[in-house]
Subunit: 402 residues, 4 copies
């Protein structure tokens, strides 16, 4: 009782994540990709350091061996474990008694499958950046390799790891908004506005190459995030969709905007809007879910608050780690209510849960991981494929493969 | 110079609307509809009183003569000018030397045309609630009567009269966001959520009757507002659209949600979402317009602020009546920056501009009224018709009639 | 039951203010002050028109008779009831059988008492702009005249008439935040920033003259608003205060900023900050009240929402006219939830309640008017006097006269 | 040129913090305090891991040796470097060739000086939690030890390390708001509301003991943060202050609210309000600074945005890491604009800068560290002392020692 009071006064601190490991057996991890000047590389490595559950011991940071070494050393990795190609790394590491137990992959999507396969087959767990693959075929092959080896696979759809987004999921799964009939997800960014023809490749790089980044820039890059968020929060699957995917900028060769209308399997209707053509937009990911008893709204710009409205009642602003939240979101929090958490904390949650799942066999058996996995990756690539197909057919309804 | 400073210090007050009329010849106005307990009746009458440009002298407030009289008297109208049917009113008023010069109509849409016709043909100007008519045919007939008689016709799409929405139009018309390529309008309300089968008629009343309210509840009721706002702010017309119009509540007979994707004549793409199924939603009308040089965002919940973002610059919050606004929006303002204006002030702008246009023949010649008129009404009904048609054809693209 | 549902769906419309008067006996009102280019003149007249409870029939709009006439006529007043001095008006109007029943006064504060006295003594009710008087002596004399004649006196501290501010009062008066221990009121404006020495008089006009505007520009102008709001919302009185009142701009002769710390009679502590030196500030009036069971926050920039936090619960956003509000605030509303009301609606509430009190003798007997009156006016002048005194004594504690 | 474009498109990523060290000589750090269930312990350790600049190798986590060992091991520390008292640790570590180069201290304030002294005298750099000491005397003694040994000392006033707060400092230091005349800082928390008499010690722990936590709970705990923020952002020092420091809760023995009015050395006026009695308040730290050319506002609840208003111009929302920011704030950022950073990122900035200063002798010579140091700690304790003194003297003005 007193204990409860104490937690409330300073925001239920005792329940938050820590950086200790009883076993003291930190997971040895390596990374493929994310070399110098890579923001996503820094992000993955930081996420792995966050809760002190991993030890970074190997990596491929460049196809140029001396560059890879130089960078690896600057990260604190031994020279002999800085590799220039992933196959050598997979072989060598799997032969060491102190070899890596997990690998983080952050290359362009088209390389994910062939890299992951080598590690999975050598019983090394994989955490992989999104989008999962460039093609549906690769996604399905990846699923087989994972199943065959029974390894842990995490996909870093990081937005789904924000505590208050998870609180939204919790409230929905527990019937707090009743039966869902309407969903809206929007993700208006502006990162391609103003790019001139001759600047496109310089900025978008491999994203111009469909073989390694998939058939749609905008859908692979952020559409998969939006789609995963919708499925994650609502626990609903999509039956069919129609889409209008466009290149709104006359300076670009890739698509930069998509409007999608979706029919859910429970008969709810949904819409998704993703864009890099929303001039001035930074990262405006927002999800709104409406049920017959209430509604929820979450906005990545204000990620520590969740708006919850019960029918005919005032909207409540539920704050992260406050007395009002469930254990589901609390376990994803690290600091007391009122102190903002952000992008890295959410990203780190996936790393921590990936670690917990590797370390605790009871979690692995469960299979109901809170973090995104292979099924989510396949769903995402299916979505991209269906949306592109619909758009090419001038907005025809396309059924999602299940 | 000093004068300018003075204006700035207290918000450029001298330029704001007043309640004086040089001629002292206030416009005599009557009303059809808006009897006891009618919110829209109060709104129209208040709007007419706002700037002291009208004198309410006649009306039909009930088809029961004694009720109409009782109510009219309570408004300050002479007993003999309280009528029980519009035709008698039109005839009698047009015969008086001090008869009404203008009529405000706020009956269900299906009656608008036949009422308006009687007054227009007797040279009485009309200000009419939206949606303009129940059918396209009535809309086109109305246009003919207006043209034939050369009268002033105003349609109360009141949201377009918010000062900062007009500031958005001003900035767009003056190239401040460059060429528009992307538009998003949303209007998520929740007013039908939770209604039981047996309550629908009690609440939605004539809106259940397609003959008098048109073929779509949600599109007529709020879709026309959203559509007008988009056309008004951007000065763009729509080429074609596809729509998904649904009845998401299993308790309703009318539609309650629509997702619409639009192709503009300038090749921009747009989406509109209107709903009365957005649980807990009050009146969340929002418009975002993206051009190659900048973007604008306006939200009816915060109507005195306009977000303006130039490419690669910080978003500016332009406030109503501040030093930064144009004369276009300033003329639509009444109080200094920082003092909120709201729904009624916007509504009253249309009444005031309707009055100005009646009184000043030079404005009438111009034809470029800032307030919505017959063309906007026709566009709205066209939109409703096209969206319903597309939805029935499972999302086929439908061209808008021009 | 059905009735209740209906009200909720469209925002409890039936309970909102109307513009009808059963008796059809509108109150004849005149105005002193508020001539051409006066914003506050327009505001008072508009407020009187809002709910159709007054008829404007007389006024003094200039000391130059021809100007007063010209302006009065443009407002729709008969030429013979446009006066050039208030004494003539008081005499003439009190002699007419159709003479004014009420007078609105919006001259500088130093004239309020002597004008009001002439009308009160002739049994004409008074509604008066704030600050009430220039000196405490005038305030006390005014009180005597009001009591002697038993007339209705309203003071337009308009912010206290915002519906959601009244909802705050309702929640506090009904114990919803427990015992109050802490209050914060702030009112940071920026209207004097940037004024040069030679522009001060041009902008601030009579406010430079202590005889007619009182001993402190900033405290009279906005300090009295903040102070009234605090007393109104909390139903608490102040025991003593200390203040630091400054002229922060080196270009001004009047004070432009005040920090005040207050000890309430119930032992709560409070602080008030009012300023015209808050660069860029428009009208940021905010009040926060903390009790041992909850807290309330209201901000004039967002006047239709009230934040209500119960201890250890999520903050609720209570919206105007929603299902959650009390009748007290609902009666002060005119439009459904989600449609913004603003400055004028609040101002008009005081006019409507002033009218209701004149018309209904049972309300007059009650004496517990919701609108501000003579006691509030006296309290305000006492506050200004105490704060200035404290500041001159370098922050000494000064007891408030009760 | 192309390079610049690229940075803008994805938020100027290349300039952001990384996790590499050219020398690969990470700093060996130990910690005193922050054992099991300590939130601040986790925070300091995480901050040290953030940018991969430290290696945690030693610590005292409990005065019980077995507990300290158990916890240290779970963090990955060798058993023999888990100590039970700081003096033993200081001695042993200073004798090792691979001993710690830096120590993080997060015990109650009253122990800081005597702990820090032992390490400083052994040439080990110190990063220390706030408040710096319990008494002014300890603060001055600490200063001497630091100077004598010429070591780096950082004080974790973490709020000052938020990028946009630093952007505010940059804009002020570069004259962008002109001469400052007015400052307002508020920090309303609610963490002691609702605590019963018998719960106070359980929750506030050592904070009840003035010997180890100083003479004011509220001023030491959060007042020092607010005061440092004001000095940091404005680069102004305080001349004198008056304060009202109260225990508003009748269940507490410590103070829980303070209102402070300040006169700055440049003649600006300021006010600070800090509270743990603001029911429902989480961590509402806000600072507003007004100059004769503009104003700035920053709010910890929305830390990635800074409001900047130039006189008579629209308020700009400057976002973290956007094209508009200076290098000063950019260097404190890690992720592209639109992805929220929060509490931990700010905290980690201090750790990173502490490391940079240790590693780079040219920075150490400069002495103008961006992170808070000994002078800030002394200023904070001086502030607490002056405010308490003023309050005891019923609000007398107290000069700050310089």
């Amino acid at each position: 009782m007193k204990k409860k009071k104490e937690k409330l006064a300073f925001g239920r601190l005792n329940l938050l994540r820590g950086d200790t490991l009883n076993s003291s057996k930190r997971i040895k991890i390596g990374f493929i990709g994310g070399g110098p000047n890579s923001f996503i590389g820094y992000t993955h490595r930081l996420a792995s350091r966050f809760d002190n559950k991993f030890e970074t011991v190997a990596g491929v940071f460049s196809t140029d061996k001396s560059k890879s070494k130089k960078f690896g050393i600057s990260l604190g990795i031994s020279e002999d474990r800085c590799y220039a190609d992933f196959l050598t790394m997979a072989k060598k590491e799997s032969q060491r008694s102190d070899g890596i137990q997990a690998i983080g992959i952050m290359t362009p999507a088209g390389y994910h499958y062939k890299i992951a396969k080598e590690f999975l087959n050598r019983k090394i767990h994989v955490i992989c950046d999104k989008p999962m693959t460039a093609t549906l075929n690769e996604a399905l092959l990846l699923e087989k390799v994972i199943k065959k080896n029974n390894m842990v696979f995490a996909l870093t759809h990081n937005y789904s790891a924000y505590p208050m987004l998870r609180e939204a999921k919790y409230l929905i799964d527990n019937g707090k908004i009743g039966k869902i009939h309407l969903i809206n997800v929007e993700y208006p960014q502006g990162y391609t506005v103003g790019l001139k023809k001759n600047e496109e490749r310089n900025v978008l790089k491999w994203r111009l190459d469909k073989k390694i980044s998939g058939e749609s820039m905008i859908l692979q890059e952020i559409g998969t995030h939006a789609y995963h968020l919708m499925r994650f929060v609502t626990s609903l699957e999509v039956k069919e969709l129609l889409a209008q995917v466009d290149t709104l900028s006359d300076q670009l060769t890739v698509d930069d905007n998509a409007f999608i209308i979706l029919r859910m399997q429970n008969k709810a209707k949904a819409s998704i809007w993703v864009s890099s053509a929303a001039t001035g937009g930074e990262n405006g990911l927002k999800i709104r879910v409406y049920g017959n008893k209430g509604a929820l709204e979450w906005f990545q710009d204000d990620p520590n608050n969740l708006k919850y409205t019960e029918l005919n009642r005032p909207t409540k602003i539920i704050t992260r780690a406050s007395a009002a939240v469930s254990n589901l979101s609390l376990k994803s929090s690290r600091v007391a209510a009122g102190h903002p958490e952000g992008f890295f904390e959410a990203f780190a949650n996936i790393y921590s849960e990936f670690a917990d799942t590797i370390l605790d066999k009871s979690i692995r058996k469960n299979k109901n991981n809170i973090f995104p996995g292979i099924k989510d990756g396949i769903a995402g690539i299916n979505f991209v494929s269906a949306a592109k197909k619909s758009s090419k057919k001038n907005g025809a309804w396309i059924k999602l493969k299940s």
